[in-house]
Symmetry: C2
């Protein structure tokens, strides 16, 4: 399972019931949050997101609309007796803000925050386990900002049960899944791997790119991504405003999707000037048809 | 006009769509906010509260559920081009938190925050103009905490137009409103004040008491208050929990209302354990019948 649930998709000023940036990610039994705008915990409650399961929180940058929901979430986790470590990935400074809040509320959380400092302007792998990696994507914004690329690792080959000889041993099945041939004691091939196996299921990926000026450099890193979330704060007529504020337009997001050969595009971080998002979607789809709006409460399943 | 609009009435963990503490006050052409829990700006947008008009924000204490909506509100005021000074009354530490947020988001607000440090454990007048005063109410909580008492000053006597002689001078009308008699040049009384005037309209008052352990000492300060907002985090069966956490129960709130001869009681800061608030209200009304629930979006008019 690889799913993205949108909890907030507003730009800097929340408007029309939209909340600031926040996404809940479920991938291979791991639970992440990307960004944590104000009201994130209320949105989790509203959409029945199990926030006690969150293991890691990735914060793209320290503008308020991406981070002001964090303290409330931490306090609620504390009040609900969380004991598991919480890993927090962010640029330097967020640790200081958290400490100031704890100090003046005379609070000590009953769980540990493991703070991982994001490095500015460089791509790095910030999480890795048996099944996935998470990389930062350097973005251009007014302050240090990084996107995140979550990629499944190559998966084992699938055993073709119809072809499997009844005498096969468990250790031979493991070898087959790893892509090896089956050899006899003398080292001769008994079964070629591809005679008994099928290719592995594809490794899926998700890229989160917000906030950012139009930046074609990221296309190479996210090449072939299954789902690209890219901010589209403005429509094309506000291109000048987008440039001034280091944000992207609908067309910018669509062109990044094209250049990176993304399978699907999800746009968000909508300016408060757009009450109705139909035109925002339409303008993007004219360039990249397989585009969806990041609507709060909706879950996007990443599939082959 | 003297009105209280409830924007949040939840205890520490927001639940069932309830938001943390926040109230918008309109009194004699002044606009105040008391407390600013997470999501306050979204609630203002939802209930069409004109947040650009807010002149002063009073923060009772630095627990997250009373203050975490402040930075988002400040950033939105900034983005909406506020230029007027904003007066902020709070205990020491909130200034440091604000500065840390501004520093790490590389932001400089385009308006001035005038920070007024609340003194702990003492009643003081923290705002006064021609028509009202605002006093702190020392409360007992786990950290430094103060309530607020907003009182209209004595108003001018009302002219009894039916009794007014046609020859009266403007300066004599002013004297009458101030309660003085009308004298001739020799200093003899021409008109006794009460022959031409009616008593002034009553001076109204509002007390906000949250968060606090049961504390009868406040009754004297808020004697005769028109509307008392008092926290009732727990029902009576959780009295022990209330004591442990320095909170109040329904009965505690009702007894403060009785002891202070409050005209009406408004309860809030409801624990997340209560989905339905009917029993919370009923238990309070059994002791103090003129009690209402602080329901979000509702406006309570303070009248004689």
């Amino acid at each position: 399972l690889f799913e993205i649930t949108i909890l907030g998709s507003s730009g800097a000023i929340p408007a029309y019931g939209r909340y600031p940036s926040c996404q809940f990610i479920q991938v291979a039994n791991k639970y992440f949050l990307i960004d944590c705008g104000e009201g994130a915990q209320m949105q989790m409650s509203r959409f029945q997101v199990p926030f006690h399961k969150i293991q890691r929180i990735f914060i793209s940058h320290l503008h308020g609309d991406h981070v002001l929901g964090l303290m409330g979430l931490l306090f609620s986790m504390h009040l609900q007796k969380r004991s598991a470590d919480l890993h927090l990935h962010a640029f330097k400074g967020l640790d200081e803000i958290i400490i100031a809040h704890l100090k003046y509320s005379h609070s000590a959380l009953n769980f540990t925050i493991v703070f991982h400092t994001t490095q500015e302007g460089t791509m790095e792998t910030i999480f890795e386990d048996d099944t996935i990696t998470v990389e930062t994507i350097p973005l251009y914004h007014r302050i240090a900002c990084s996107g995140f690329l979550i990629k499944e690792k190559p998966k084992p080959r699938r055993i073709n049960k119809n072809k499997l000889p009844p005498t096969i041993l468990l250790q031979q099945i493991i070898a087959l899944k790893e892509g090896r041939d089956i050899l006899d004691d003398a080292g001769n091939i008994i079964y070629k791997n591809d005679a008994l196996t099928l290719p592995p299921p594809p490794s899926l990926s998700y890229a989160y790119c917000s906030d950012t000026a139009f930046n074609l450099e990221i296309a190479k890193q996210i090449e072939g991504v299954n789902l690209l979330y890219h901010e589209a704060t403005f429509m094309q007529e506000e291109k000048k405003k987008a440039l001034e504020t280091f944000h992207s337009t609908t067309a910018d997001a669509a062109h990044i999707a094209i250049q990176s050969n993304a399978k699907a595009l999800l746009i968000g971080h909508f300016s408060a000037r757009y009450r109705d998002l139909d035109l925002v979607l339409k303008e993007t789809q004219e360039i990249f048809p397989n585009t969806s709006l990041a609507i709060e409460g909706q879950t996007f399943k990443i599939e082959a």
